[in-house]
């Protein structure tokens, strides 16, 4: 509530600041705006920035730190018997207070001290929000008045505003870098915690995957086992099936569309592939699980084969269909980039169209096609929904496409869904898998880019 009000106040003050700054600048030279260093609207932006920016920065800092600070204050007020415990119990206590404060029913009777702490937490938070509203509004008002007072005909308003905007633009373009750093750090950090429990060698080269963790210490197989080889094998199997579908079909469609189809046919065929590319993966997953898997199973039984109801084949085929447009559009680009003169030369020597394509166009486009296939492989490895819905959960180490296998992404999804605990090796192993997945896809993408750059034939 208070936050909404504060944001509204800020918007209002910025707009007012803009108007005030512009009119004041015009008034300072008696309406002869040519005498100003900058156009009046720059003075308006100058005042508006002064009104909005400091308050917005305060707001960002405040909302990032308020929860933590209030929690520290609440914890300091609790009796020692509750707070002088190990880190895990302390985080549990924090969660309890938060749950009570947000009115979430935890299902057990709370300790009166904790209940009081939760009440205090709610009170302090609301106090904090109110003071943020008041301080923020004052800051915005102060900034507005300060900047308005500084307006003179000689004020270099344009330079100041443009410098601020430039800084903002640079910050925005750094968000992408920050995201990458965030991904790498979060994966590394959590994976390190996992590798502190399970050795990386066991993880990367073990052949048994069963991430169940024990409820009790004396349970059989209580340690769980985290050998990820079956997952890598399953991922590779499904990816190989997908590629076996997507590469020939995608490449041949691209060749047909760019070399054979007349423009009229192209206008019909292109949207079909675009629609195929636009269908959400969850829809492909549903199709794989409810239509393709029973079909493959029925077909296999008709041939006297024993097909699992969650066969790798069904998931792989549907994933291949999903990737067809990806391969096709990337290959289409590289095929079109081959200069016409090469084709004309080939025709001039008497080659047929297919000979020209096979012996001249494709070799010239090969680096691009290889890169396209690598990007497609990286897509297939990282695809989650189809395999989560249509492939199995049992970690089979098999190369038989009729059996159920599980993949890296499936395991990440199932290990983390519905699990609140964040410190068991079971959930942490998902980050270990995520790190491997990230590194593999990153390498594939980088190599694909390098292949294009290094082996591209330059004809012009």
């Amino acid at each position: 509530m208070q936050i909404t009000v504060l944001l509204l106040v800020l918007v209002l003050l910025t707009v007012i600041g803009f108007q005030l700054g512009r009119s004041r600048a015009a008034a300072s030279v008696g309406g002869r705006t040519v005498e100003l260093h900058s156009v009046p609207s720059y003075h308006g932006f100058y005042v508006a920035l002064w009104a909005g920016l400091p308050a917005l920065l305060l707001f960002a800092l405040w909302s990032a730190s308020e929860g933590w600070m209030v929690m520290q204050m609440v914890l300091a007020g609790l009796p020692d018997r509750l707070t002088q415990v190990d880190a895990q119990a302390l985080s549990l206590l924090r969660a309890d207070i938060l749950n009570l404060a947000h009115g979430v029913n935890t299902g057990r009777e709370p300790d009166p001290a904790v209940a009081a702490a939760a009440e205090q937490y709610v009170r302090l938070r609301s106090l904090g929000d109110w003071s943020l509203l008041v301080i923020g509004s004052c800051l915005a008002m102060g900034g507005l008045l300060y900047a308005r007072g500084r307006i003179t005909p000689d004020l270099r308003a344009r330079n100041r505003v443009e410098r601020t905007v430039n800084v903002a633009l640079v910050i925005c373009s750094l968000v992408a870098i920050l995201t990458t750093i965030g991904i790498v750090l979060s994966l590394l950090f959590e994976a390190m915690r996992f590798f502190a429990v399970v050795s990386p060698i066991d993880f990367l080269f073990g052949t048994h995957w069963s991430p169940q963790m024990a409820m009790r210490a004396d349970q059989v197989g209580s340690s769980g086992s985290f050998g990820a080889i079956p997952l890598f094998a399953g991922t590779l199997l499904i990816t190989a099936i997908a590629m076996a579908v997507a590469v020939p079909v995608g490449l041949m469609s691209a060749i047909f569309m760019s070399e054979y189809a007349n423009p009229h046919l192209r206008t019909w065929l292109k949207p079909i592939l675009e629609v195929l590319a636009g269908i959400p993966t969850v829809v492909y997953g549903f199709f794989a699980a409810l239509t393709m898997a029973p079909f493959v199973r029925g077909l296999g039984q008709g041939l006297g084969l024993d097909v699992s109801s969650e066969s790798a084949l069904a998931a792989g085929i549907v994933m291949g269909v999903m990737i067809i447009p990806f391969v096709s559009s990337l290959s289409d680009d590289v095929i079109n980039a081959v200069p016409q003169s090469l084709r004309d030369g080939s025709y001039g020597l008497g080659a047929t169209k297919s000979e020209t394509i096979r012996l001249v166009v494709l070799p010239a486009a090969l680096p691009g096609i290889v890169a396209a296939v690598m990007l497609a492989v990286s897509r297939a490895i990282g695809e989650t929904m189809i395999v989560t819905m249509a492939a199995g959960l049992t970690a089979n180490l098999t190369a038989n496409p009729l059996e159920a296998v599980t993949t890296v992404t499936t395991q990440i999804a199932t290990l983390l869904v519905g699990d609140q605990e964040f410190d068991s090796p079971k959930t942490l192993s998902a980050f270990g898998l995520g790190l491997v997945l990230f590194l593999v896809t990153l390498t594939l993408n980088m190599v694909a880019l390098r292949v294009v750059q290094k082996y591209r034939e330059k004809y012009d």
């Binding site: 344009r158 968000v175 992408a176 979060s186 995608g250 959400p280 549903f286 990282g382 999804a413 869904v417």
Partner: protein, 437 residues
């Protein structure tokens, strides 16, 4: 005249050939054989191309066909008409179910034993009393009177009426026993069973009972998520694209940013989910299952898409525009803000809408941050627990009931309708504002 000349030339040629050799190498049997094989290879290659396009089209038709075929029935659902007597004491105690059951027993008076009556009870949806309650709340004067109401039937009754539960299989293997079917036949004969448009699907949140389950909660969740995504990724994405395309000096740093953006675009979506889980939930302690977190993760995911599309659009604006603006004394920022950006806007918008459509269909990152919970209530704010349409599809696809399969397909159709709408808008914008320089 010309004919004569040509004939003359031709006769000369034949004469010349018959002089040098009886047959040239171009007329030899080997040559024509080779030529035939080359042309056959040509035809085969062409056919392979057509087959590839055909396979892709066939898969699309099968995919859409199977979903429409499974899903279209979910837009209707069965209702049962009952003559209820709204007893005052029962209404005051809130016991609406017995009221309905009495009315149902009255239809089939011959069923009197406990087991039979329990079967009859199962004909009605467990949500039926709430319908009656809402009716009484809206018009309290009907208490004590006899009323005709249409209430929801159980999902198995619905499946039976749609013909998915066959009556010719033995009773032991059928989901509906003979008592239920007898009662339904009796009701149907009296015109007391109808198939009405399934408004529940579009107004309700999730439910364990298929007949009461709807996608409105998921649609609202998706909408809130997309709003956050758009508010963050569009301004930041456009600003980043403007900087990289218009202002950034060419040096190692900007190269790094570029490589970075291209790589981010290819990072699997589930990795973004892990990022959200570790950073937004773990580090910043944001609430689980909230559209706010979902939107943040989606924003980071769509950012590269928007940056790349915006850069392409900015690049397409010819340099003469910039030179003219700079020439009349505009500052670089004024040039971009007043001239380049407005001209690039249609392209940027198209890319943005396509990015948003992708975010709308994305599921995996949302699973990671807990938007996969069973949530009955419609979310009201950015921090309420919510789910999203694709996640709802994922959850329903897991349910064993036939009625949920049907609703999953219907939800997919709704999702596809939204996607078609967004992509259609993008195509329209591109067509309307496309400009060739």
């Amino acid at each position: 005249m010309t004919d004569l000349v040509q004939q003359d030339v031709r006769t000369q040629e034949t004469r010349a050939m018959s002089v040098t050799a009886t047959k040239s190498r171009y007329q030899s049997a080997e040559f024509s054989d080779r030529l035939r094989r080359r042309y056959a290879a040509e035809r085969r290659f062409r056919l392979a191309g057509m087959a590839a396009v055909g396979i892709a089209s066939l898969m699309l038709v099968v995919l859409l066909g199977s979903i429409v075929g499974k899903g279209y029935t979910a837009f209707w659902q069965t209702q049962i008409r009952l003559e209820v007597t709204l007893d005052k004491t029962q209404v005051e105690e809130g016991n609406y179910m017995p009221v309905l059951r009495q009315a149902l027993y009255a239809v089939v008076p011959e069923v009197t034993d406990r087991a039979g009556r329990r079967s009859l009870n199962e004909l009605l949806s467990s949500g039926a009393p709430y319908q009656l309650e809402a009716m009484v709340k809206a018009n309290p004067s009907i208490v004590g009177t006899k009323q005709t109401v249409w209430v929801l039937a159980d999902d198995e009754v619905d499946q039976f009426m749609k013909g998915f539960i066959r009556r010719d299989v033995p009773e032991s293997e059928r989901r509906l026993n003979d008592i239920k079917i007898g009662a339904l036949d009796k009701l149907a004969a009296a015109g007391a069973v109808k198939s009405a448009f399934n408004t529940t699907l579009f107004t309700a949140g999730d439910s364990r009972e298929p007949e009461q389950a709807g996608i409105w909660g998921a649609i609202v969740g998706s909408f809130l998520t997309l709003v956050v995504t758009m508010l963050l990724s569009v301004p930041i994405g456009i600003a980043a694209a403007v900087y990289l395309e218009e202002f950034a000096p060419k040096n190692r740093w900007t190269d790094l940013i570029e490589v970075n953006i291209n790589n981010l675009a290819a990072v699997p979506s589930i990795i973004f989910g892990l990022l959200g889980l570790a950073v937004f939930l773990g580090f910043f302690g944001m609430p689980r299952s909230a559209p706010l977190v979902g939107g943040l993760v989606m924003a980071l995911m769509t950012l590269p898409v928007i940056i790349i599309a915006s850069r392409v659009a900015l690049k397409a604006v010819p340099p003469s525009i910039r030179e003219a603006a700079l020439g009349v004394g505009a500052s670089p920022l004024q040039t971009v803000a007043h001239h380049v950006l407005p001209l690039a806007m249609p392209g940027i918008l198209t890319g943005t809408i396509i990015g948003m459509a992708r975010a709308l269909g994305e599921t995996a990152p949302l699973l990671m941050i807990g938007m996969v919970a069973f949530i009955v209530d419609i979310p009201h704010g950015l921090t309420d627990s919510a789910t999203a349409l694709p996640v709802q599809i994922y959850m329903w696809a897991d349910s064993p009931e036939r009625a949920f399969t049907e609703r999953t397909s219907a939800a997919i159709l709704v999702l596809l309708a939204f996607l078609i709408l967004m992509n259609g808008l993008a195509v329209f914008l591109r067509k309307k504002f496309e400009r060739r320089w």
